[in-house]
């Protein structure tokens, strides 16, 4: 029987399980991203094919410059693919206009960044509430309270980012990412700026969100210990996914 708090926090996540849903929530087909530097074309992605299924926690590892962040930007709709397809919850991002991708990001994607990327002028409360406001479904105080409690932020909501530790800032960023119930959370080196203890706390939270609430997560990291928190690790090199390993 479903846990009521799970239903409340992630109603969509609990309507399916990995075993019964075969369609990937995210799929890329021959995904290319080429940057032009002066007169030189620099390919960052060279035909990536991946599938992420609902409820998965996938870590993507690779050395600097292998295209991890670029892939996160493209699959999250922040950047347009040069070639190939990105299917997110059945929507082809590569065929979408900029404004359609914006709409898709708003409703289906939550980002967590290495540098937290909180608005410095707003306190934690408003940083989280902002995502709900942009989402457009109005402020849901009960959901807000549940998320804040889950991430241990209740006592820190009135503080601005400059008054929070790195770990606290990243927890605010995670709260902001999940407050509007996205289909997928994309985390770009979420522990890159954190000490070991805070890193473990943040990774544990991501793992909890995935295990307890079925939140699909794709996390980029260069840290094998962090990557081990995922169900699966994809290795990237020179703009390609070179292999994948299932952990759990």
């Amino acid at each position: 029987m479903a846990n009521p708090s799970k239903i409340f926090l992630f109603p969509n996540a609990l309507t399916h399980s990995r075993e019964t849903v075969l369609e990937p929530i995210l799929k890329t087909e021959n995904l290319w991203k080429v940057y032009r530097t002066g007169k030189v074309d620099v390919p960052a992605l060279r035909g990536v094919d991946i599938e992420i299924f609902p409820g998965e926690f996938v870590s993507i590892m690779g050395p600097s410059g292998c295209g991890k962040s670029t892939m996160l930007h493209v699959i999250g709709g922040l950047a347009q693919a040069t070639r190939g397809r990105v299917l997110l919850d059945g929507n082809d991002l590569s065929a979408m206009s900029d404004s359609a991708r914006t709409l898709l990001r708003r409703h289906k994607v939550g980002f967590v960044f290495q540098r937290f990327n909180l608005l410095p002028t707003l306190d934690a409360y408003h940083n989280i509430a902002l995502a709900q406001h942009i989402h457009g479904n109005g402020f849901d105080p009960h959901r807000f309270q549940v998320v804040a409690e889950l991430l241990g932020l209740t006592a820190r909501l009135k503080h601005k980012p400059s008054e929070l530790s790195g770990g606290e800032q990243q927890r605010v960023a995670i709260a902001r990412a999940i407050i509007s119930e996205p289909k997928i959370v994309l985390a770009d080196e979420p522990t890159g700026n954190l000490d070991t203890k805070s890193s473990e706390s943040v990774l544990g939270l991501l793992r909890q969100l995935n295990k307890d609430f079925g939140q699909t997560i794709v996390m980029i990291t260069h840290n094998p210990e962090a990557a081990a928190y995922g169900d699966r690790i994809l290795h990237m090199r020179d703009g390609l996914v070179v292999n994948g390993a299932s952990i759990h």
Binding site: R105, H107, L118, H126, I134
Partner: protein, 366 residues
């Protein structure tokens, strides 16, 4: 939410906010005070002209409603003809000269008997009526502003006058001398600039005007009842252009300051814009934030500008009591609208620029 965000942004950068608000305040003050000065001047002149107490004013053909600009081309004998018309109770010829020494003043050369007959006579605060050729009357406002006392010598129009009386303000000019003296000084013997006509009854004014038109075709014949409505900036050559130029300068100041302020803000907040875009904020949402912030800053500037205008009026009137600065709700609203329009125009390009930022590049901005 947007309200909270823009308020926090404004408070987060107090110096930028202060400079922007001050610039908008200067813009608003410039509009309100320049317009207030011109309309104040016109209204003051109009009220004082109405205060003569006449019903009709006769001027030479094509003469300006600003009498000081019209010289003295009318034979004074016309006054006798006007006096003979039906329903005319009194006719006062006045020779008007413009004094530009120690300020700008209009001097009325009057015949005390006829001027009193039309105006009902001066109310004397001190002193007595004009008697000798070198006598001069000053009104109380002028006397207060120049600290003039009875018996003092007043040097105007390259002539030394003897102050013999201080009278209540509001009878056309602030300075009065004998018409014969002024005619002598101006080389305008037996000439007058204007005739003020007092009718025996106010409702006879139209009939008297018709008579005057028959007697003096092509002359400017104006009822004084509506004189204030005639005194607009468009009736004084160049004044409208001056006011419009000052408004244009004010708008340019507001536009440029807001443009620069918001432009630098957008550069400074590039990463924040990237964050908003990563959250799914649309271009319209980002434009809305920038324009709302501009509006908030402009409103701050407007409030400061209105306060500054009233403060400046107090200071100016203390220093120059003859100055009239008319601050009207109408022009406060117009100045506010001008400031908001200029601000929004100035912010529109930075807002557009912000809305088009690439989210990946914006997020990578240091």
């Amino acid at each position: 939410m947007i309200g909270h965000m823009i308020t926090q942004n404004v408070l987060h950068r107090p110096l930028r906010t202060l400079i922007t608000v001050i610039a908008v305040a200067v813009e608003v003050t410039l509009v309100i005070v320049v317009v207030g000065l011109t309309t104040g001047l016109l209204t003051d002149v109009a009220k004082r002209t109405e205060g003569v107490g006449a019903d009709i004013m006769v001027q030479p053909p094509s003469a300006s409603v600003f009498m000081a600009f019209s010289g003295a081309p009318m034979p004074i004998l016309i006054g006798n003809k006007l006096q003979e018309l039906d329903y005319v109770q009194a006719v006062a010829p006045v020779l008007i000269q413009f004094n530009s020494v120690n300020g700008l003043d209009v001097v009325y050369g009057i015949d005390p008997a006829t001027f009193d007959a039309v105006s009902g006579g001066f109310v004397f605060h001190s002193g007595h009526a004009l008697q000798d050729p070198n006598d001069i009357l000053v009104d109380d406002v002028y006397a207060q502003s120049k600290k003039i006392k009875i018996g003092q010598i007043l040097h105007i129009l390259e002539h030394d006058f003897h102050v013999v009386g201080i009278v209540e303000h509001g009878k056309g000019a602030r300075l009065f001398v004998l018409m014969s003296t002024l005619q002598e000084m101006a080389g305008a013997h037996d000439k007058a600039s204007v005739f003020f006509i007092k009718c025996d009854r106010t409702d006879h004014t139209p009939a008297v005007m018709d008579e005057v038109r028959q007697l003096l075709p092509r002359y400017e014949i104006r009822p004084l009842k509506d004189f204030i409505s005639l005194m607009t900036s468009s009736t004084l050559p160049g004044l409208g252009a001056f006011v419009n130029t000052m408004i244009a300068i004010a708008v340019a100041i507001g536009f440029l300051v807001i443009f620069l302020s918001m432009y630098t803000t957008i550069i400074e907040r590039t990463r924040e814009i990237g964050i908003l875009k990563s959250l799914g904020a649309s271009k319209a949402y980002i434009v809305q934030i920038i324009l709302s912030e501009t509006t908030l800053l402009t409103i701050g500037g407007i409030l400061a500008g209105v306060g500054l205008s009233y403060g400046l009026r107090i200071v100016l009137v203390m220093k120059w009591p003859t100055l009239t600065i008319l601050i009207t709700p109408d022009w406060i609203l117009r100045a506010s609208a001008i400031a908001i329009l200029g601000g929004l125009l100035g912010a529109s390009y930075p807002a557009w620029m912000a809305s088009r930022k690439d989210p990946v590049e914006a997020l990578a901005y240091e």
